[in-house]
């Protein structure tokens, strides 16, 4: 990437390949579906009258939750594969360069930028270092936690001997002590992810206006455009 860094230019760069962009929208949709249905599982809608055989409301809500749960897990597996098969930017949120001093300087600078203490953010082809940190530690690990606890809850219903029980419930349940605690933690981490999404959307909109590169159009088309001609600050190789 050294040529790129030195070849300071305003030319657009293709950053997020189609699979990454597709994953992003599918994932965002699934998070919304899972949060809404999950909330309704814990706190169901008003009771229905009549015969039980006439309704299956809770059953449908749970079905949608579990289907979306399967999809988000498969999508993450696919995204992990793409981190391996795709371009260097596809790896960013999975492998933060935590041992590089330049990365942490970048994080620090970004924090100062959000505290209004510097006049200008740095310029990046990929994600900025603070974004990488949040995406990795809050989102990637958070969603992994939801998948593991979610499948452990699912295994309780599927029963002993099911693969969900063998692979997940069998060790996750003793880890949390009881099914009730497992439910509570699965529920609590939903709020963590919601907090991530709130901040994420806010900063995406904000940086789209204030940073030195494009944001929203990039996650839609994959192309990054730049607003000035000075060199970029990405980690070499990222």
């Amino acid at each position: 990437m050294t040529e790129l860094t030195s070849a300071a230019s305003t030319a657009p760069i293709y950053v997020y390949e189609k699979p990454v962009r597709l994953w992003h929208s599918l994932n965002a949709l699934l998070i919304v579906v899972l949060s809404v249905t999950g909330y309704l599982i814990a706190d169901p809608l008003a009771s229905l009258k009549g015969e039980a055989s006439e309704h299956f409301l809770m059953g449908y809500i749970r079905f949608v939750h579990f289907s979306a749960g399967y999809l988000i897990a498969i999508a993450l597996l696919f995204r992990l594969y793409w981190a391996y098969a795709g371009n260097e930017h596809a790896r960013q949120i999975f492998l933060p360069p935590l041992l590089k001093a330049h990365f942490w300087q970048g994080v620090f600078h970004e924090v100062l930028w959000y505290l209004f203490l510097v006049k200008e953010p740095r310029k990046y082809i990929g994600h900025n270092p603070l974004a990488i940190l949040a995406m990795h530690f809050v989102f990637v690990w958070g969603v992994l936690f939801m998948i593991v606890t979610g499948f452990a809850l699912y295994g309780e219903g599927a029963g002993q001997g099911s693969w969900q029980h063998t692979l997940f419930s069998s060790w996750v349940l003793p880890l949390f002590g009881s099914s009730q605690s497992l439910h509570s933690w699965h529920h609590l981490f939903m709020w963590l992810i919601i907090c991530f999404v709130l901040v994420h959307i806010y900063v995406a909109l904000r940086e789209d206006k204030l940073s030195r590169q494009s944001m929203l159009s990039t996650i839609v088309t994959g192309w990054r455009t730049f607003k000035d001609v000075r060199p970029v600050d990405d980690e070499s190789g990222a």
Binding site: D43, A52, M58, G177, L188, M190
Partner: protein, 359 residues
């Protein structure tokens, strides 16, 4: 010593016909095929009976009360005569020093061969002074008896998890059997519940005595045949849950119709026990059938999870007691407020530096 279970039963006046009936019943309650009944009969006719030492620590005796109300009167008689129960301070005849001597006698005479059944648990604070048996802390009696036993049965939630005496802040440091430091390393069968169901208790004992091995246990040490499913999995109100028909108030129409108690805090979806299949009092009913939600009495720490009448239970890891929606909702609201404030400041800042945009 060479007396078999069968000998003991005959001595107690049980006919052979009743004996065979008991064997079929036990096979059924253990979920075994009818072909197992003769095996059980054979084992009981040939094997020397195994003595059971039944100790009581901090407890309320609900396990003993449940046990002696075992559904089938025959099962109860047979099991009670199978157990030597030479020492069970609730129902034994001996008292005082004579009684305490029996413990030593059994431990000496049947070294490595008796089953230790524990009801309740030892408090460890102040060197165990909160539970004194025959002048000594219970924890010492427990360790002594565990040293030479074949296996331990932890009766009820007290012995299995700690139960109410171990609820926060647990001033006496009541500790479930498997967590007692320095306890001999013996297989432990947990039979949780407050109390456990009588039929489950007798079946566990019958299994141990006839097959001379532990029933299959799950990862938490409970017999799989009774604790592998949740109340919710076999609840007869489940169709109302799936339909979305819930009781919202104790006196509403849904309550009269027998709809699902989920919104009233039923812990059936998170509780592993056999109540919805075996039921209580000779299969007459169980809490949900009587219109009250399950309180999760066979689960670890069920006293410390907040109200029995709330679906969302408390998480107390953060020093505050609040449910996931209270903690998470507050966090999300704070984040939202932070974002609004930050957006406001950003706008102000930009208004002050009109040149920023042109770079």
């Amino acid at each position: 010593m060479t007396e078999t279970f069968y000998d003991v039963m005959r001595r107690q006046g049980i006919t052979r016909r009743s004996f065979l009936k008991f064997c079929s019943l036990t096979a059924a309650s253990l979920g075994l095929a009818p072909a197992f009944a003769p095996k059980i009969a054979h084992a009981m006719e040939t094997k020397p009976r195994i003595p059971v030492l039944w100790l009581h620590g901090l407890e309320c005796t609900c396990c003993s009360e449940s046990f002696i109300r075992s559904g089938h009167p025959l099962a109860k008689d047979v099991i009670l005569s199978m157990l030597s129960l030479d020492y069970d301070d609730t129902i034994m005849a001996a008292a005082g020093h004579n009684a305490e001597a029996i413990v030593t006698e059994i431990v000496e005479k049947y070294k490595g061969n008796y089953i230790l059944a524990v009801e309740g648990n030892p408090p460890l604070a102040e060197d165990g002074m909160y539970c004194i048996i025959g002048g000594k802390p219970f924890v010492e009696q427990l360790k002594y008896a565990a040293e030479s036993c074949k296996a331990i049965i932890s009766w009820g939630s007290c012995a299995s998890w700690g139960c109410v005496q171990a609820a926060k802040p647990n001033p006496t440091r009541a500790t479930p059997v498997h967590k007692v430091p320095g306890l001999a390393n013996k297989p432990i069968i947990k039979v949780p519940g407050c109390p456990p169901i009588a039929e489950v208790m007798t079946a566990v004992v019958a299994y141990l005595l006839t097959f001379e091995k532990l029933p299959t246990l799950d990862r938490q040490g409970r017999p799989q045949m009774f604790y592998s499913q949740r109340i919710h999995d076999k609840c007869y109100r489940r169709p109302h849950f799936d339909a979305g028909q819930f009781v919202e108030h104790w006196d509403d129409e849904a309550a009269r119709q027998g709809h699902c108690l989920y919104k009233m805090g039923c812990k059936g979806p998170t509780t592993y026990n056999a109540c919805s299949t075996v039921r209580w009092n000779e299969g007459v009913s169980f809490p949900i059938q009587s219109g009250h939600g399950c309180i999760g009495c066979s689960e670890d720490g069920f006293w410390d999870k907040g109200s029995f009448y709330e679906r969302l239970t408390d998480i107390n890891q953060f020093g505050i007691e609040a449910n996931a929606d209270a903690v998470g909702g507050t966090a999300a609201a704070l984040v939202g407020a932070g974002i609004a404030a930050h957006a406001g400041l950003t706008a102000l800042n930009r208004a002050k530096q009109p040149g920023a945009e042109k770079q």
